[in-house]
Symmetry: C2
Subunit: 629 residues, 2 copies
């Protein structure tokens, strides 16, 4: 049973998975249906001209990505079935999969747009048209569906499609030397290879990774073939597609941020699975660059709406932050794969940071509206939407929340790894012995974690427990007694023969901390952010007695935390006394004067960043002015 | 001899008037010439289709305003002739005036666009097409030319035009009940009435002021006549034109900021000349609103580029400030007219503030490039231009600098008023006695002013000397001895019989002061600005050892001032030791951490705001973060 099937029983993730299952997944299915995305898979799909060609390119481009929207929903629904059986959902999946199977062309090809609307343009613009990206998401859906249900219905369809893609692309005679402008197929094929045991999918994925950015440049050649001068590429540089250089020569996170992290995920897959040192180095170098020069404090990445991606080092404006939800999700994907190269909490800490903050902010408390971009400050006008012209984020959220267990636990031959802390049980197998690890914790509200071992017979394995960098020195108890455990890469290791009922307690200190950005980050100069455990906090107008923009948090202000059951079904708030300039003492006609405004103490309440914009619409800030030191 | 003819002999204004005369006025004449603006006045003007109709409306609209560009230049050149005879310039003026005279239609009409390009649309769109605005500027030019040279050549042409306008517009049978979308004709006609002694121009101006905003709305009616639904007005509201209400019912500064202050100037003219209490109240109310809720600290007005004007109370962003040079100039015009309602330094202080800062910043040190908008912060990309598609600001700067004396001195029957301090002599006349007041001062670098009386015979009059609100308690000496003088409206009054050689010394303390904005001004929260005397200061990158955006100026930092002869031909800088966060102590891969950046002392040098962007291009800020209290 894969870890994606872990069912959580805590008061943090369990309600989120329930909302995801009961609200978000049905909501997306409804949206996919009413917008025509399901009908697009019918053999008799007859899209209206408005849908396919309205004002030329833009709507057409969106419709070109429709397959991926449905595919990500199938993937999310499949994960949900694995944790919570649901015959109606199972049947719904079967029905949609039947449409896809029926629709597949005899040669294996499967793309609603190019089968119906633009058949003559099949594979004509890999750079812009997301054809292989669509295929990748369908393949991920097939793998998830197969693993969750054991059914091969979609898997077989997608194996045929993957085989057709394998015949079409490659370095052999008559094959196209292409690859997709939006990476996705690469990591999908790796998953397909793993699920089916078929090396050819692995090889095809490796071809796509290796071919990227080679000269002569495929995107140039296909543009010329379309009669379009390559220099007229609308995004100007293939950095946008991370195709400016062969992947092993890339050193910086550039371009469209979702494309970037999907590609880096596949690079990490190969660095892990083949011991490819060049890819490993490239991944490590780009990771370091991204996370130390271009990442927001809450794990969001991609500064600019213009390219939906990266700009320049330390360019991290708050109110205009793009920080697309999908990019944070992709960062989680990538971090998970980096961990397969060797346990190192640097990756897990950022996986956790992105997941609990920049990802989770993407979905509303009720599960039916979504942020596409996740700014770190708002004047009060930024709100979640029920749907988007390009609705990539909602189903991406649905699939990551539904498969959370896969980020919590991992195992290899001799190790049971606990990456994240969340109450729920993971099933491991060492040799012939099934072992269940039961986590009991109120994380992220409290740092105390109890791991109880359930095993039919004594089992030898190393329990690896991550100590987040933010936690300081934790306390560790084994069966009630303090124990010293060696740490490597930030993971404690308790290697022993475990018997049923063994219990490990890890108590992670979880103080409220102030964070400062390096001075190169101009927008954060003089500002402070608040963190408690894995959560980044923000102040939202709904909780304050003064306008958010007036709050100054002195370095000396004491901060406390408190569980508030009345706020959004319960969360830990951070409270303290800040200062705010008051207009008292200013004459009505004083606009400027030589005496500064009086600063008056004001109580402030900060909530986790992920939870903002779920109550009265209002202003929000992550970074607050501070004084003193 | 009007005060416009005062010639300054100091080291502040004298060089600026010289540069204006030797560089700016010739530069604008060249630009007017090469862009075809002079040719447009020729009877055989045959504009190319690109000039008059290129891409429809926009370029056409600009060309519609061409007459005003030349008119403002004529006005500036005329003032210059008054202070500094120049036969070549005199002849150049004669030549251009001859073109205008020749071009005038037999009925008196005179507008190059509507005479040549669009004759059938004469008076068809007063709201948008600036026809009466153009007329107003030509009338102002005529008055200035007449007063400077005694020649009636342009005055007579413009009287004929004004008479034609008077026949066309009004409440009589067959007359149009219109007025201009861009106020200007009103204040121009007041000047014409004063110069010619003709009441009918005064009455026509009063008609335009009074008719504005009346119902049924003229702009609606003329739009309907053109076949355009009034609701489709591109600016959406007649607030843009200050025509949303009759002027006596207006209480707030709204819409396009230049239009606003030109209108308010005319309103003040009538409030003064006719003792119209409703107009007086409206002026006072709008003045108070504008200067206490919508004015930048350096006297700039008009927040937004979108409407070139006002937005909402306290909406005063710094980097995106529009603060058009022409609007600040218009604020000076208005303030001058408010002073005619009674001496009150509230008006003069803002006149001075705008003049020395938001106006003067509009022109480069070399006199040949200009700011249209005057932001209070720059990331380093805001620079002056040699010319603009709509070059309203350069000749407006030229005319105000050339006529400076008119803002320094004023007189009435019994009073000699010194509004501003600048070394140069004003000619007064009390009864039959000519009196010259000689100012000797290094203002604005130093607050000590000596006023020496030159008179052929003893003369009784009240000398009124303004004590700016920023100056605190000044010292006053009469012939070397301390003297108490009553103050009213911030003007000291020494009423006596003056004899030749009498000398008054006014010593205004001129410390460096910190200014704070009221907390409603969100962009300035936690920030401080520096003022010394009438000058607002800024920090420009060229003078700093750390990036401008890192500078924090503690409340405790001592600030000094120093004359620096090496900077832009000499100016007083403000110096002090600020703090700046340093990247020292940050590991290369530390992006966020729990320890704040170390603040290190750094020397800073601030220069007067008007002087920025005259050296190495770079970042600039007026408002600096501050700490402590």
């Amino acid at each position: 049973m894969p870890f994606t099937a872990v069912r959580f029983t805590d008061r943090f993730w369990a309600p989120r998975q329930r909302v995801n299952r009961e609200r978000t997944i049905p909501h997306i299915d409804r949206q996919n249906t009413v917008t025509g995305r399901i009908d697009a898979f019918r053999r008799d799909w007859n899209p209206s001209p408005e849908v396919t060609r309205r004002d030329g390119r833009w709507n057409g481009t969106v419709v070109m990505f429709w397959d991926s929207d449905v595919a990500k929903w199938i993937e999310a629904a499949a994960y949900s079935l694995a944790t919570t059986p649901d015959p109606a959902l199972d049947a719904r999946l079967d029905a949609i999969i039947a449409l896809i199977a029926e629709r597949q062309a005899p040669d294996g090809y499967m793309n609603t747009w190019f089968l119906t609307v633009d058949p003559e343009m099949r594979w004509a613009n890999l750079r812009d048209w997301h054809e292989l990206y669509d295929a990748g998401h369908l393949i991920e859906a097939a793998v998830a569906h197969y693993e969750a249900t054991g059914k091969r219905s979609l898997l077989d369809v997608m194996c045929r499609y993957a085989d057709y893609i394998g015949a079409t692309f490659g370095r052999g005679p008559g094959q196209k030397r292409g690859y997709c402008g939006h990476p996705e197929i690469e990591l999908a094929l790796v998953r397909l290879a793993r699920a089916t045991g078929e090396q050819r999918y692995h090889d095809l994925a490796r071809y796509f990774v290796d071919e990227r950015g080679q000269q002569p440049h495929y995107f140039d050649q296909e543009a010329i073939a379309r009669g379009q001068p390559p220099a007229q590429f609308w995004a100007r540089s293939y950095e946008y597609n991370q195709a400016h250089l062969p992947v092993r020569e890339q050193t910086e996170a550039v371009g469209h941020s979702v494309r970037a992290v999907y590609l880096y995920s596949a690079m990490a897959d190969f660095a892990a699975s083949e011991g490819d040192q060049q890819l490993r180095d490239a991944c490590a170098t780009i990771w370091r660059h991204l996370t130390t020069k271009r990442m927001y404090v809450m794990g969001g990445i991609g500064t600019s709406a213009k390219n939906e991606g990266f700009t320049s080092d330390y360019d991290l404006p708050n109110e205009s932050a793009y920080a697309e939800t999908c990019a944070a999700i992709g960062l989680v994907f990538w971090a998970q794969r980096m961990l397969r190269l060797g346990l190192d909490r640097r990756y897990t800490d950022i996986l956790e940071l992105a997941l609990y903050n920049a990802v989770l902010s993407g979905v509303s408390h009720d599960g039916e509206s979504f942020f596409y971009d996740n700014p770190l400050a708002s004047a009060g006008t930024h709100h979640r939407s029920e749907w988007f012209a390009c609705p990539c984020c909602p189903p991406n959220l649905a699939r990551i929340i539904a498969s959370l267990g896969d980020y919590v636990y991992a195992q290899n031959e001799h190790e049971a790894v606990v990456h994240l802390y969340a109450q729920g049980s993971g099933q491991f197998r060492f040799g012939e012995q099934d072992v269940t690890l039961h986590q009991q914790t109120d994380y992220p509200w409290d740092g105390r974690v109890t791991v109880r071992v359930e095993t039919g017979a004594p089992a030898s394995f190393a329990l690896r427990l991550r100590v987040p960098a933010w936690s300081g020195a934790p306390e560790l108890l084994l069966n009630g007694s303090p124990v010293n455990a060696p740490a490597e890469g930030g993971y404690l290791q308790i290697d022993r023969e475990w018997i049923d009922g063994d219990e490990v307690v890890l108590a992670l200190p979880m103080p409220v901390e102030r964070l400062y950005a390096r001075p190169d980050v101009t927008p954060d100069l003089g500002l402070v952010a608040l963190r408690r455990g894995p959560l980044i906090y923000c102040v939202e107008q709904a909780d304050q007695s003064v306008p958010v923009e007036r709050i100054v948090l002195p370095a000396s202000a004491e901060l406390a935390s408190e569980f508030r059951a009345d706020v959004l079904d319960g969360l830990v708030v951070v409270t303290g006394t800040a200062l705010a300039p008051t207009g008292a003492g200013w004459a009505d006609d004083e606009l400027y004067r030589t005496a500064p405004p009086e600063l008056r103490p004001c109580p402030i309440t900060a909530i986790p960043y992920y939870a903002w914009d779920n109550r009265a619409p209002g202003k929000m800030r992550v970074w607050l002015p501070t004084t003193g030191s």
